[in-house]
Symmetry: C2
Subunit: 162 residues, 2 copies
DNA sequence: CTAGATTCGATGACATGTCAACGAAACCTC
DNA sequence: GAGGTTTCGTTGACATGTCATCGAATCTAG
């Protein structure tokens, strides 16, 4: 009915820039991570989230939620990481359905040796290119969008409308 | 040797926000696109880039470069889109190796009917949440990062070092 | 308690992306 | 213009992600 509000020049510039940056940054960070540490970004994120907990252990469900991954995806991925000795699974004491993902010593070693290089890459290709004001703006704006999208939305809602 | 410069609080907030926004925005835009138009984001991007050319036709190589996709990936994807009748391939007159990707009427129909809803979603979940200053800042900052990463870098370089 | 609904994680089938290799064509450069 | 190199697009093998389904365990009403 009413005409589409297309993006004006500035909006288009921001939107295209965002998507292009997203892609290039991903390629570069993934490339360096693989080359320097033998980890994929997915591996890194799993290990990173695990290592941020006091015990290096998390319920699978909890980890999936934090990462905004499906449990299926995480389960598959953990199987592969387990085969490489980076994590193990343990039974959950208080919920017999559950399983607990545990960082192995090798996994901790992997993330600890990968982290400095990865942070350096993030700085080199993003953070250090921005002014303090831009960093704050990026923080503010991204968090606003995250809140809007319901940052906690655990799982793909099946809002069966109509 | 020298200590890692970890991200300070503001930098960390920006970086985490960026990654979380990235993920949530992707999920939501992909979800709406699939539901409303039966297209994946990959489909949409291919059709969009094609439809931006005067004739709706592009050399495969050229399209792959614009999208920052590998030719292999694009070739596989085109095979699937071709089966759905969204694009076709034609021989290239001046280069017998090449192939030209051509938007079919159905493909043009698909992108034209999908675009308004997609743009609306981009507005709803991102653009319209930002102030004009933030939009400009995002445009500036992303383009700086893209330039830094060598926006033109056509293909994964095989810099064989040492 | 207990029947039904929900959550948890695993799994298999399948869609998609990556990687290495290939044949054909085009491009040097001598 | 012939030999070696590079580019182009395709292909097959494989890695990864998604989706539907499952069995088991837990939760919730009554």
């Amino acid at each position: 009915m009413d005409a589409t509000r297309w993006l004006d020049e500035r909006e288009d510039r921001a939107w295209r820039g965002y998507r292009r940056m997203r892609r290039l940054l991903d390629l570069e960070l993934a490339r360096e991570l693989t080359q320097d540490a033998g980890l994929s970004e997915a591996d890194y994120d799993v290990l990173s989230d695990l290592s941020e907990t006091p015990q290096g252990r998390l319920r699978l469900r909890e980890l999936a939620d934090r990462m905004l991954w499906s449990r299926s995806r995480l389960s598959h991925h953990l199987t592969r990481m387990q085969q490489r000795g980076l994590v193990t699974r343990e039974e959950c004491a208080d919920d017999a359905r559950g399983s607990i993902v545990v960082l192995t010593p090798a996994g901790r070693q992997a993330i600890e040796s990968a982290a400095p290089g990865h942070v350096a890459a993030v700085r080199r290709h993003l953070i250090d290119l921005l002014t303090p004001a831009e960093i704050d703006a990026l923080g503010a704006l991204t968090h606003r969008v995250v809140d809007h999208l319901g940052g906690r939305a655990p799982h793909p809602r099946h809002d069966l409308e109509i």
